[in-house]
Each structure stands twice: as structure tokens, then as C-alpha cells.
């Protein structure tokens, strides 16, 4: 099924059922074609995949491990819980898989500059990292709201040599950063590659990003077989744009007996209107935006709705067309986890297993831990830990109302105040 997904019926290149396509200003047409050709070419060249694997194992730590959560499995008394450790990647999340792959493609195409959107900042950091390593010029677009709340990532992007552009349009978040990046690209595409951060956007991005991220699923499948002797009953992954989910699901798409479960950001609850679910409970509807057709969180007239999630990385209106299709045909199930459930799950997992999932990944844990008790201890389930949570310290400490953390920040700020105070004294 995995391979077939990308064998398009005539005239339907880049389509997955009704989803996908390439809805872009005509000015980008040739660039997208060039990219498609370069990607098809690379994909047909076994040396390319080998180079990709070699890069990922010497620069990041692939294959990332598979960890058995012995304590939680025992506590819950249900399925054996396994975790794919994408958090151990260089830069701390699965994002780097895609980014390094696209970097190799940029080298093939001979371009000198890369641009990217970022929401939480993980993809921005990964792209800036790749650009530094491969010697490309780099510009990152980021909604101004995200720039404010994800300053640590902005700091690292800048240190890595990237220019970070704060986007003040729309909701000033991820979707607006995507629009801004598309605009830059429409201008710069002869020298510049757009490193799309997830399995969204116009064809060939959904296919290409899935291709690079499929490494997760390929590794995980053989690791499960090696460590447990059989396939997991279910595979859980959080779904923002959908790249980590697409990546791990890719390994199991052809195993009809493996249930694939995506978990979206339930925010304050699906009924609150304050969430970022699109597939769960079919809250989203078919639309076209940001270059592709999928299920968007939009109003009846096709205007995108504001989204909410405690995790910046899942706070997005669209979803990968491949996932929208797989959901339509019932191959994947999609649930939602609320902010409160996510924080509780995160704390639970930290204390019992010593691992710190990213807030995004913690969504997958919520549903997996909820459902594990319904399976037998002879069964196993697999969770994709897409990233590490230490990047989220500001959000988590805030959400938990950690007073010493606040005191720490106050004191830090206080260290610079004397000067200001002194100046004030003179001026007033």
C-alpha cells in the first residue's frame, strides 16, 4: 500500500484520493516541476538513499533506538509499550530527517539558499542546522507570536547563521509563516529551495517528506520484529502537519493487521472550539490553501479558523493529504488529546520512565496509555516519540505554575535591572 500511494493514476499526480495536488501561483510551476523531477530522479537513484542513510547515521544518530517502557507496561497491565526515540535525533526531533534529506536534494539541484517556515521552531532549528552544515544561505519565516514565545529556538537559529523573519500577518503563527515562505519562494525560486517542514504543501512535498520520514517506520518495523518477534498491534503518533505520523505509519501501511492511530491536538476540548483537530471526529472539511487540498479547520466560507494547542508544533489548520486520504478510507484512526491530558501524561511518563517527550509527542502517549490496558500483555504497541520535551520548558513550567522557575526568571531579569533603575533615577 505504501508504494501504491505514490503511483498516481493518470492525470492525478500528487493526489491521494481527493486530497493533495498542487495549488500554487503559476509563477512557481516550473520550480515545482524542477523539484519534482529532481526528487523523482533522486528517488530512482539507489546511491541517493544510501547517501541519505550515511548522512543520518553519521550526523544524527540513526537508527534511533526503540525503548521498551517496562514500568508503564507493567503498571497498566496491558500491552507492552514500545517507544521509537526520535527525540534522540540531532536537534531533538524527527524534523531533521526530512531536512537533511531535502538538503541533499538541494545539493543535487545546485541551489545555494534555503528558506523555511517554522511554528514551534523545531523545523527552523533543523533547517538552520542543515544550512550551516551544507553551506547554504538560510532564511526562516516564523509568525511573530511564535517568535515571541519560542525565543530559545530563534536564538539558536540565529546562532546557526540563519536570518529569522518575524511574520506579522494573519494569526501570526505557523500558517502565516508558510504563506510568507511561499511568497519568498515565488520571488527567489531560481536560487532558492523551500524546505517544507511537514507532509503538507503542494506536490511533491507530501510525497517527498513522507519519503524521508519513512525512515522512522522502516527502522521501527524491523526493530519491533527484532525485539518482540512480531509486529505491534497499534502504532501511535501525534499529528500536526503529519510528518512524524506519516513517517512511522509508512513502515506499517502494508501490514493490514497493524492499526495506525494518529492523535491531534484537542486543546481545551473538541467542543470548546479551541483546538487543532481536523480529522478526529471529522471536525475539518475539505479545502484548498497553502498550495494543497486537504481537510482544513475552516469556516463555511473557507476562511481558516484560529487553532489552539499547548504544543506549538500541532497548532496548525491543515493536515498532510496522505493522512487525510488514509483517514477517509479508514486505514488510520485519528483521536484527539486535550492540553490537560497531555500535561498529565507527560508528567507520568517522566516519573516512571525517565524520558521527556515533547509536548507534541505527549499527545500520542495520552491515547496510547489510555488504550494500552485494553490489550493483552502478549501484545505490543508502538509510540512515536517525535521529539524531546526539554525544548518546552517555558511552556511546561508555565503550565504547571512552577514558582521556583518564575523566581529564577525574575532573578535573571533582575540582574540587568540595576542599570535601568539607575538610569531611571537620573532621568526622572
Amino acid at each position: 500500500m505504501y508504494a501504491e500511494l505514490f503511483q498516481y493514476p493518470v492525470g492525478r499526480e500528487g493526489y491521494y484520493g481527493q486530497f493533495g495536488g498542487s495549488f500554487i501561483p503559476e509563477i512557481l510551476h516550473e520550480t515545482i516541476r524542477e523539484l519534482t523531477t529532481a526528487f523523482d530522479d533522486a528517488q530512482a537513484d539507489p546511491a541517493f538513499w544510501d547517501a541519505y542513510i550515511a548522512l543520518m547515521s553519521s550526523y544524527s544518530c540513526r537508527p534511533t533506538p526503540l525503548t521498551h517502557l517496562e514500568n508503564l507496561s507493567k503498571d497498566l497491565g496491558g500491552a507492552q509499550i514500545y517507544v521509537k526515540r526520535e527525540d534522540l535525533n540531532h536537534t531533538g526531533a524527527h524534523k531533521v530527517n526530512n531536512v537533511m534529506g531535502q538538503g541533499l536534494l538541494v545539493q543535487r539541484m545546485g541551489k545555494q539558499r534555503v528558506i523555511a517556515e517554522t511554528g514551534a521552531g523545531q523545523h527552523g532549528v533543523a533547517t538552520a542546522t542543515m544550512a550551516a552544515r551544507m553551506g547554504f544561505e538560510c532564511t526562516i519565516y516564523m509568525g511573530s507570536v511564535d517568535v515571541e514565545r519560542q525565543r530559545p529556538n530563534v536564538f539558536w537559529m540565529e546562532q546557526l547563521g540563519a536570518r529569522v523573519v518575524s511574520v506579522d500577518d494573519g494569526t501570526k503563527t505557523l500558517k502565516d509563516a508558510i504563506n510568507a515562505t511561499l511568497r519568498d519562494w515565488a520571488d527567489s525560486m531560481h536560487t532558492t529551495h523551500y524546505v517544507m517542514g511537514t507532509v503538507c504543501g503542494p506536490h511533491p512535498f507530501p510525497q517527498m517528506v513522507t519519503y524521508f520520514q519513512s525512515l522512522i517506520g522502516r527502522e521501527a518495523r524491523s526493530q519491533m520484529l527484532e525485539q518482540t518477534g512480531k509486529l505491534p498491534k497499534r502504532v501511535y503518533a501525534c499529528v500536526g502537519g503529519g510528518s512524524n505520523a506519516s513517517g512511522i505509519f509508512a513502515g506499517f501501511l502494508d501490514d493490514a493487521e497493524v492499526e495506525l492511530v494518529g492523535v491531534e491536538a484537542g486543546g481545551l476540548g473538541l467542543d470548546s472550539g479551541q483546538h487543532a483537530a481536523r480529522l478526529a471526529r471529522n471536525v475539518g472539511s475539505t479545502g484548498v490553501a497553502q498550495g494543497y487540498k486537504t481537510r482544513f479547520l475552516q469556516n463555511a466560507e473557507g476562511q481558516m479558523r484560529p487553532t489552539h494547542s499547548v504544543s506549538a508544533g500541532l497548532d496548525y489548520v491543515g493536515v498532510g493529504p496522505v493522512l487525510a486520504y488514509l483517514h477517509d478510507i479508514g486505514r488510520i484512526r485519528v483521536e484527539a488529546a486535550t492540553d490537560a491530558e497531555v500535561l498529565a501524561s507527560l508528567q507520568h511518563v517522566m516519573r516512571r520512565e525517565g524520558i521527556i517527550p515533547a509536548l507534541e509527542s505527549a499527545h500520542a502517549f495520552v491515547t496510547a496509555l489510555k488504550e494500552a490496558p485494553n490489550l493483552s500483555p502478549q501484545d505490543s504497541i508502538l509510540i512515536n516519540q517525535s521529539g524531546r520535551g526539554d525544548k518546552d520548558i517555558f511552556t511546561i513550567a508555565e503550565a504547571l505554575g512552577d514558582e521556583p522557575w518564575r523566581a529564577f526568571l525574575r532573578q535573571k531579569v533582575g540582574e540587568w535591572e540595576p542599570e535601568t533603575a539607575a538610569t531611571d533615577g537620573i532621568l526622572t
Partner: protein
Amino acid sequence: MGARDSGDRRDTDMTPIEDYIRQRLQRKRLLLMTHAIVGYPSFEANMTMLEAMQHADVDLVELQLPFSEPIADGPVFVQANQYALEAGVAWDNYFAFMQRATMVFDFKILMMGYYNSILQMGHERFCACLAEHGGDGFIVADLPPEEADDLHQYAAAYQQAPIVMMTPVNSESRLRRIADKASGFVYCVARRGVTGRHTQVDEGLEAFIARCRSATSLPLALGFGLRTHQDLQQVKGLVDIGIIGTALLTAWEQGGVKRYGTLLQELTSAVT
């Protein structure tokens, strides 16, 4: 070849708008198409803008339906889209405004916008609605020709011109493919990038227009980055229609109706 193929079109294929353009071209060497974002800064202001256009003898007007994700627009229009949406612009008041305008003014009016609005409305309902409210066609910034067939069929049925875009980076074969889907006129994008930035009229531009001409026999409109009457002066003789967008909105923002009217008068003086 392409040109000859397209040249084979019979007169009966002509949309009302092409007809209108060809007639106007009899007395003007360059027509003028201008643009407004409906609801920005207000419906009343839009009306004042359109009155100024009428007064300057503008030939065609794009009325942009605001969208939350305007990927082909530059900063000025992006902000305007957003403002209009926040102010509550929706299908009903958009089309009501269009209707009012088409009843009052002489220029032809085209809907401009993004595909999602049309998709949500439905292709047929959209075309019917346009026709019902006096529109003559539409320009969709993010609809590639591959995706256009169904919509264009309804467009034909409702006598709406589906304006397609040609760009300097398109190959010959791509230009022919676009030409195949074209009717009314063709929107030639003067340069890479989004709306708003200035465009230099140079040899590259002339070569591009020549390639468009050999791909289609339809009238050619040139847009993206034309700002001044000098710009129009330079493209007169090269294309059939000059398109002014951001420059006008900027004039409004900087100097209100006065500056807006003045710019329009200057532009008109260039085309006549």
C-alpha cells in the same frame, strides 16, 4: 505553432469580456485594469474608489474577495485581506457590493480571489452567483490549469471569463497549455514574486510578452509591479491592458481619495 492553434479560435468562442476589450482597444492603445479589496478599508471607501475609477475611465476592475491565506499577495494586500475579514466581509456582502457596482459603473468587473472560496461555494454556484451579480469573469491566484476544467465549464455556461496567468518562467509548452484554458484575456505576470514590488520594464519583459503572444491570440494584460504612468507608457504597444493594484491602494492609504484620484488621472493620461 501554439499561436497559430489558438489563432484558430472562431469569433463565436469570444466571451463578452474579450468582445468588450477588443471594442475598447479600437479607441485606446492600452486599457487599464485596477483593483480593490472588497471591505478594505470599508465598503463606502470601496465605492469612492470605484467612482474615481469610473471618473478616470478605467476599463476593467478586479474586486478581490478576501481570503485568510493570500499566498500570492504582498504585504499591503495581505494586511488588507485580513482587515476586511476581521471587519466581517463574507460572500453575501461581497456579492451585494459587486452587484451595486456593476449597476452603477461602466467598467467590467471581475472577481479576484483564491480557489478555496470557490471550492466552498461550489463551481456552478460560484459562476451562477457571479453572473447573477453582474460579474464578467474571475481571476484565481492559486488555481493551476490542471485543476481548472470543471470550473471553466461552468464559467462558459454562465458567460464568465476564467482569466488565466502566464509567467516569465513558463516554458513554451506550459504557455500553450495555459493558453488552452484561456478565454477573455490572459493575465501576464510581469515578474517573479508576489504583488506589490516595483517591476522594471526591460528587454526581458518584451521577450516574455512576445512568447505570450505566440501562445495566444487573446488580449494580454500585464500586471505585478506596475506603479506609475511612466510604467504604463512603457508597456503601451507591448500589451493590451495594464494592471495597477498595490500602487493604488498605497496611494489611498497615504493620501486618501485625493491622492487616489490624482494617481488614477495620471495613469489614464498615460493610456490615452
